[in-house]
């Protein structure tokens, strides 16, 4: 089942290449169908997932390259399930949201499906080598999606994204090889890429017994993941990439790709190097606070809506880091819930920005005004998304942020208090933007802007419902991850 989820989009991408170039409707339908299958499978998985088990389920385990003990090993636990759901959902909705793409549309949808396959693969792999392959595979479609279909500075943004993330992932590659040679397979005695074996400290040997080297490996992994998150000061690729990318790609970037960084830390760094994770708690919390405050201030300074949303992502990922740094049940559960919630909320915001950009062809906050009268439905949807981002009680962002703070407060009291400022600043930039775009005197230039269309609503409403539901009743997601994450905390913090 996991293989089908991962590789069905690839099949879709291949079939698209055989559709004649001028049959754009067929291309789009095939793409939507290819993305719908993983979504259906993901829902099925959600239903059948055994919430009481901390370990891995739906495991697929085969030999791949025997001489190097590389395995085809997939499985999911409570940490991966929310991410898999998010990937499947956002990918499908993004394909719908991209319906208007006309330029080289075969290439666009084929690359998009490849991207989905790469992301899905990252979240289900349990063999480090396989994980790395998926991690890298996802870079290529992203590079082209930004570079070909992006905005005016697309070339710069695309290559910057590519260089940054590749620099991070090659460090990860070195760490991976270091693990390989120093972790023993308990059954065969050979070296292994199996993450489960790597997590068992009893299998560690060689240089992994040396604390300093463990620290170096931790840092290599951390930089690799930090670039993806992105953690300050590795964040500079993000605003560029977001602003230049087409709407749907921004959604995927913020909604799913950024999560791969924090997912990597929780899936790989924490359980394999728990001692380093514990030592790194305070720096991580501080970095989280910097992300929150710095990101929020940057967002406030933006005049471009998309840039504002992009910097708000930097800020919101800071909450995830803070929760992870707390290393207690509330904090980490809150962090993972925040990963999921940020994915949905930020997706809504980017989609909303895309809607207005399609109509007005600019995103300058001060260029609008009084849109509330002109586009009432749109205004209410966008405001809903923005309030969710602020963390208004009753919407999902509030639940996860509250959990993060509840978790972090007893452990990092000062840092948590400082970080809480981020909420205030967040409210400030969001309300300020709301006021400048939707309220106030009406800008006559936009008298004939049509309101949001049914197709656009189709992409926004499902996410909105999830945001509302999880805001009132977060248990469906919390239940999924609780067992696995509590087990993780036991492994790391003892």
């Amino acid at each position: 089942m996991l293989s089908w989820m991962t590789f069905f989009p690839v099949i879709g991408a291949l079939s698209i290449t055989f559709v004649p170039k001028d049959r754009k409707e067929i291309v789009k339908t095939v793409a939507a169908a290819a993305a719908a299958v993983p979504l259906i499978l993901a829902v099925q998985l959600f239903m059948n997932f055994d919430r009481s088990i901390a370990g891995f389920q739906f495991v697929e385990h085969y030999e791949w390259i025997k001489s190097f003990n590389i395995e085809y090993f997939m499985g999911i636990d409570g940490l991966s399930v929310p991410m898999v759901l998010l990937t499947a959902l956002l990918s499908f909705l993004c394909i719908i949201a991209s319906w208007k793409i006309d330029k080289a549309c075969k290439g666009y949808f084929a690359l998009f499906l490849l991207l989905e396959a790469g992301m899905m693969g990252v979240f289900v792999s349990l063999d480090f080598f396989l994980f790395y392959v998926f991690w890298e595979v996802m870079l290529l479609p992203m590079y082209f999606l930004i570079g070909i279909w992006g905005g005016p500075r697309k070339e710069y943004a695309a290559i910057k994204f590519f260089l940054y993330t590749l620099a991070g992932s090659v460090l990860m590659l070195l760490a991976m090889i270091a693990f390989y040679y120093n972790v023993q397979d308990p059954v065969t005695g050979g070296h292994t890429f199996n993450m489960l074996h790597m997590m068992d400290q009893a299998n560690h040997g060689g240089i992994l017994d040396v604390a300093n080297i463990r620290f170096v490996i931790w840092m290599a992994l951390f930089i690799g993941f930090a670039i993806k998150v992105p953690i300050f000061p590795f964040h500079t690729w993000l605003p560029d990439a977001h602003v230049e990318a087409p709407t749907a790609v921004s959604v995927i970037l913020a909604g799913v790709l950024l999560k791969m960084g924090t997912y990597g830390i929780l899936r790989i760094s924490y359980p394999i190097l728990p001692d380093q994770a514990v030592n790194f708690m305070i720096p991580l919390a501080i970095l989280g606070a910097i992300n929150i405050i710095y990101g929020a201030f940057c967002a406030m300074a933006q005049s471009d809506m998309k840039k504002l949303v992009a910097y708000s992502s930097v800020s919101h990922m800071g909450y995830v880091l803070l929760g992870m740094a707390a290393m207690n049940s509330t904090g980490i559960n809150g962090a993972v819930l925040q990963m999921f919630n940020h994915g949905t909320i930020t997706a809504m915001m980017f989609l909303c920005v895309g809607v207005i950009y399609d109509r007005a062809h600019h995103r300058d906050i001060d260029g609008f005004g009084g849109l509330g009268l002109q586009m009432p439905v749109y205004t209410s949807v966008f405001s809903f998304a923005l309030f969710a981002a602020v963390g208004l009680p009753g919407l999902s962002g509030f639940v996860s942020e509250a959990m993060v703070f509840l978790g972090a407060f007893p452990v990092h009291r000062t840092i948590a208090i400082v970080s809480a400022l981020g909420i205030v600043i967040g409210a400030a930039y969001v309300l300020w933007m709301l006021q400048r775009v939707f309220l106030g005197p009406k800008n006559d230039k936009y008298d004939d802007l049509p309101d949001i269309s049914a197709r656009e609503l189709f992409t926004l409403v499902p996410i909105g419902l999830i945001v509302l539901l999880l805001g009132v009743y977060p248990m469906p997601v919390l239940d999924l991850m609780k067992a696995s994450l509590n087990h993780l905390i036991k492994v790391v913090a003892g």
């Binding site: 791949w64 390259i65 025997k66 001489s67 190097f68 080289a104 790395y132 392959v133 890298e136 595979v137 870079l139 290529l140 590079y143 082209f144 570079g147 070909i148 697309k154 070339e155 695309a158 290559i159 590519f162 260089l163 590749l166 620099a167 090659v170 460090l171 590659l173 070195l174 090889i177 270091a178 390989y180 040679y181 240089i207």
Partner: protein
């Protein structure tokens, strides 16, 4: 070695020398064919193609054979020779095929088209001998055979000033480096009194040479062979020669003689120096050269706007990566080199074929003229993208697997700084490889579809398919490389 030890070659020996023999016979037949069928290059083309395919078939069949020395112990027919035979024969087949549709080689007014194919056969045969040589005499003879042939091939476009310059440059530098190496070879003969690699090893193991002399010898020989593989600081001929030579020849040069050079390096140093690795600080020397080579190659490639020159500099960088595997003269490192050479042959030839194909219709190798090719020649561009990603070393392509094994060995040997420099170099290389991809797609330029010869499509596909497939499953091929190294150490 005294004369009475020389065995007269006999028929059973020749039975193990079939691919080489096929190539040399093909060379003669092609020359004859060229004379008999004047002005009809199809005849030598067909002869060489048939010969290369036959040799390839024999080479593949020979992979299973056991190890043995033949021709009076001058050459060894073992796992490694068999492995390289397959690479060389395959490269020859591909080169012959895509040269046939190349404007530069087959264009109107070009003379001696037949000779060109004959020379490919001769050179391939020579390289096969290089990979099998286990005696100083054979080492030198085979190396010179390959070198002389390549000087001629580099200057194949006689009317082009650029080509003539390339050829002369190649020859002068080649002769000097040969001289240096010959000096090293005579020194080692003087030190040990042996001509065969095995004899030299035994003499060194017995401790007959002092470390300083040994280091001098290693450096001299390494310099000579380093020239062949375009290692910094013996690389300066490489971009000029590649740029001046016809592109098919440049593609052939960038892969085959390099692989042959590495084969010789591996066989000579692994056989002779293994017992004294501790006594000579060989690893540090190699590490420094490796870093210099890859960094120089990459930094220089970044600035290039001529795609052929860009690929030339990038091929220097790849030599740097390959040298990482050479570091400790461990079996694992050499296996990684062999596998990388196999992968490198696929992807680099592929990239050069693309340049040939585009040059045929656009008459340009300039990066600016590549703008919009993704729309003007979609399939060829996609295949080129595969080659470029593979050259960068991104999964799921063969290039990633190749680099992975090289880095794995460096880390296993705990040369962390070298590994870090190596991966950072990969990041630099991404920048210039992506410049080509960027030109294809990011700047849409209106223009007619570019016509690409069907033969070029076929040869590119033949290379692109395994470049991708080897990125997903490479177990069997890695096993071949492993076996190749395991089966020659003792000879």
């Amino acid at each position: 070695m005294s004369l009475e030890m020389l065995n007269i070659p006999n028929w059973s020996d020749m039975g193990r020398f079939i691919p080489e023999a096929v190539f040399f016979c093909t060379f003669l037949l092609a020359l004859l064919g060229d004379i008999v069928a004047r002005k009809r290059p199809a005849v030598p083309f067909a002869i060489v193609l048939a010969g290369s395919l036959t040799a390839l078939a024999f080479a593949v069949a020979g992979l299973a054979g056991d190890e043995q020395t033949i021709l009076g112990e001058l050459v060894a027919v073992d796992g490694m020779a068999a492995f390289f035979r397959v690479i060389f024969a395959f490269v020859a087949v591909i080169t012959v095929l895509f040269s046939w549709a190349s404007e530069e080689i087959m264009g109107t007014g070009r003379e001696h088209k037949g000779e060109y194919y004959a020379l490919i056969a001769l050179m391939t045969g020579g390289m096969m001998v290089m990979a099998a040589a286990r005696d100083l005499l054979m080492l030198y003879l085979s190396l010179e055979l390959v070198s002389l042939t390549s000087y001629v091939m580099a200057g194949y476009m006689r009317n082009s000033l650029r080509a003539t310059e390339a050829s002369v440059k190649y020859m002068i530098f080649g002769a000097v480096s040969s001289g240096i190496m010959l000096y090293g070879l005579s020194l080692i003969f003087g030190l040990t009194g042996e001509m065969t690699f095995a004899g030299i090893r035994d003499a060194l193991a017995a401790g007959r040479a002092d470390p300083l002399a040994l280091l001098t010898v290693s450096v001299l020989i390494f310099a000579g062979l380093g020239y062949k593989i375009a290692m910094v600081p013996f690389h300066f001929w490489c971009p000029d020669v590649y740029e001046g030579s016809p592109t098919p020849v440049a593609g052939f040069f960038s892969v085959a003689p390099k692989a042959a050079g590495f084969a010789l390096l591996i066989r000579f140093f692994y056989t002779t120096l293994t017992p004294v690795v501790g006594r000579v600080d060989f690893p540090l020397l190699i590490a420094v050269l490796s870093v210099a080579t890859m960094t120089f190659g990459n930094l220089a490639a970044v600035r290039q706007v001529n795609v052929k020159r860009l690929l030339a500099y990038s091929s220097i960088a790849h030599v740097g990566y390959l040298l990482m595997g050479f570091l400790m003269l461990t079996a694992e490192g050499l296996q990684a080199i062999l596998f990388y050479l196999l992968v490198y042959a696929l992807m680099n030839l592929g990239a050069f074929i693309f340049v040939v194909a585009i040059n045929n219709s656009l008459k340009s190798e300039h990066l600016d003229d590549y703008a919009g090719l993704g729309y003007r020649a979609p399939w060829a561009a996609v295949m080129m993208i595969v080659f470029l990603f593979s050259l960068t070393g991104l999964p799921p392509t063969a290039g990633f697997v190749g680099k992975f094994y090289l880095f794995a060995e460096v880390i296993r040997r705990e040369w962390y700084w070298l590994a870090i420099v190596g991966v950072l170099n990969s990041v630099i290389s991404l920048f210039y490889y992506m410049k080509i991809a960027k030109a294809f797609y990011f700047t849409k330029q209106e223009g007619d579809p570019v016509r690409i010869a069907p033969m070029h499509y076929v040869t590119m596909a033949v290379l692109a398919a395994p470049t991708l497939a080897l990125g997903l499953y490479w177990g069997k091929f890695k096993a071949l490389a492993d076996r190749a190294i395991e089966h020659f150490g003792g000879m």
